[in-house]
Symmetry: C2
Subunit: 393 residues, 2 copies
């Protein structure tokens, strides 16, 4: 059974659970603006004209689309009814609504859940105009809770795909340790990872981030051709791939020993151990029912209690059809994160656990692991980095 078939079946169940009558995804020209909900609703081909995808809590699965898009949707075998039109979607949409008679219609917009905010404002205006003289005009609600559950609760097939993505990402990280040499630049490492990914027939889930030594600039910046590996450097690499559409996102650390060193200096070891402990502390807290911010809080406290500067991002985001999947976020209660950190954690959600500290004269020390939430805790999908990888070059 395809992922899309599984997810549309799961959507019916979640609609029942949330007591929502209908989920309506209303889109156009998906090559221009792509609603992320479509990952769970359509196989890969693009839709050209205005399209309505309707799934009800009674099990209806209908699509209304332009004439030339209909064949693909029919061929997928997922929808019971595919209605095609030439000039306007309105009449067909209204008559399907009259068949389903929903009291509540969930629409893909959200203040905080980015993955549930795929409807453009223009399409919102269009939909409201179509419904203005109907009994459905006040029925629209946000699909954010539906999509948080649908994206978060991975099926077994989805978990297998995430695990494959994690495994391949780990192979890429091993190649970083193997190819690191004095004088190799951040950009060289990035290129190697991009080539490795292409050789696997895959794409990266995010442009690889490479930070070498104390003078690099932390963040989402492009790896530099001028920042090169030297002795005493920490090398931090953030690299993940998409495997059949599912993402991994891992950070691994290498340390380049000085000539006179057999182990890293105490400040480097302390940094790694503190990051490691913070991730362990977060992982121990992570289980169904705990709120996103609570997990962030305990891990963040390990870092600040040890006297390091706070990391200015969330401890963990979900991974799935996107490297930053929406819904529950393991982050602090900052305005920009909004309600996403107030969601309770659920079983079968996949999260990153990630943080970093800065070590003067050596660079950034960062770790990022991938975990899946189990019935009463969490399980690491990644082979945890237990200690710094030491390189004598």
């Amino acid at each position: 059974m395809s992922v899309v078939k599984q997810k549309t079946d799961q959507a019916v169940q979640i609609l029942k659970e949330l007591d929502i009558d209908l989920w309506l995804t209303y889109i156009r020209k998906t090559s221009e603006v792509h609603d992320p909900a479509l990952y769970f609703l359509l196989e890969d081909r693009w839709m050209t004209w205005q399209t309505a995808i309707l799934i009800s809590n009674k099990g209806h699965k209908f699509v209304i689309c332009g004439r030339y898009d209909a064949a693909n949707v029919e061929a997928s075998g997922i929808y019971d009814k595919v209605i095609s039109y030439d000039q306007s979607i309105k009449d067909d949409l209204l008559s399907v609504l009259d068949e389903i008679k929903p009291k509540t219609i969930a629409i893909n917009y959200s203040f905080d859940n980015i993955a549930a905010d795929g409807m453009t404002h223009g399409m919102w205006l269009r939909l409201n105009k179509m419904l203005e003289d109907t009994e459905y005009k006040d029925s629209l609600i946000s699909s954010e809770n539906l999509l948080a559950a649908l994206r978060g609760r991975k099926t077994e097939l989805e978990l297998e795909l995430v695990k494959k993505a994690v495994d391949i990402s780990e192979l890429g990280h091993k190649k970083v340790s193997e190819t690191a040499k004095i004088g190799v630049s951040e950009e060289d490492i990035e290129k190697m990872l991009l080539q490795f990914t292409e050789d696997q027939g895959l794409t990266v889930s995010y442009p690889p981030l490479v930070h070498v030594g104390p003078d690099t600039q932390i963040g989402h910046g492009k790896p530099s051709p001028d920042v090169k590996i030297g002795k005493g450097n920490l090398i931090s690499v953030d690299y993940g791939v998409f495997y059949e559409g599912y993402a991994s996102d891992l950070q691994r650390m290498n340390y380049i020993l000085q000539d006179n060193e057999d182990i890293p200096p105490v400040e480097v070891r302390r940094a790694f151990e503190t990051c490691f402990k913070a991730i362990s502390t977060g992982a121990e807290k992570l289980k169904p029912g705990v709120l996103g911010w609570e997990v962030d809080y305990v891990a963040r406290k390990v870092i600040t209690d040890a006297g390091y500067d706070e990391f200015m991002h969330a401890l963990g985001h979900q991974i799935g059809r996107n490297v930053h999947d929406g819904g529950c976020l393991l982050g602090p209660k900052w305005e920009k994160y909004g309600q996403s950190v107030m969601y309770p954690v659920e079983e079968n959600q996949c999260f990153t656990l990630e943080l970093h500290v800065y070590v003067p004269n050596h660079g950034y020390c960062s770790i990022e692991e991938n975990v899946v939430v189990t019935k009463d805790g969490c399980k690491f999908l990644s082979d945890r980095q237990m200690e710094l990888t030491l390189l004598k070059l």
Copy 2:
């Protein structure tokens, strides 16, 4: 000078011309939902947190973005000021607005222009909430006219890229004629084109469409492994590529001669000639100032006057950063096309001219050319298909 630098400069000029004070593009997590306006505002790296990109008619070019995204934006050298934040974009955004003091703020939403409708409804709600107690709360207008002009009016550099995309697409079409054999399936042709594209280091601008013989299903359907080339078949292929982000979109026709034929039967020749004449008629009409629907009308009339069924799509869409670029559309006045067919044509816009008719027992006959609007007419970017390519297999 990069395309993005040119387009941000051009945006300032268009803002002046349209008497709009400020263009505000407000986005988040561009890997999840990608506002198509970003093609003209940012180099390729993704933005993770909420970001505001501001261009004013006085020439201000500012970005407000999350801390970890700032380095890339700065490195592009396009923006005068890059302001980074950690917890909330609000204070920085309001103080930049107070610096610019706009009376009108163009926002990326549109009822009809898909390429100008990149803002999600959730971001619309967020922006309005931020502005609710300020003097800017009633200043928001649609950026659709700005984006129609910006996307439509190609710079010389953009025209070069479109032309390259057209040239490569023509090479792909030549390969179709070379590799066509009895028994080769629609899917085989699709695969050949995908491989050819990959060999060029490019991507397709749209999944190739292949229609073989009378029993295929017209539209955006996936090419079939079961529909195979036979004698007397028309082979219609729709194939384009992206070259450095710019699209081509061409349809070419092959006809497989029967054993006893030296030329195609009269009904096949008549179909091709009618399509050819309809495109010529549209091209003759196409020049600055004419309205989109007027060009469609004259070409459509050639088809219906000849007794064929009307093609149920627009005669021509723009090409550029997307294979279906927004703004002026050469289409009929159907509800779904809305205002897009009422725009006047402008110099340096690139359009497709495309249509098809059905020939019983032989298949679909379709032609699609790519043209650029000149000062007083239009010029073909593609090497026009003047006659059916005849194959004796």
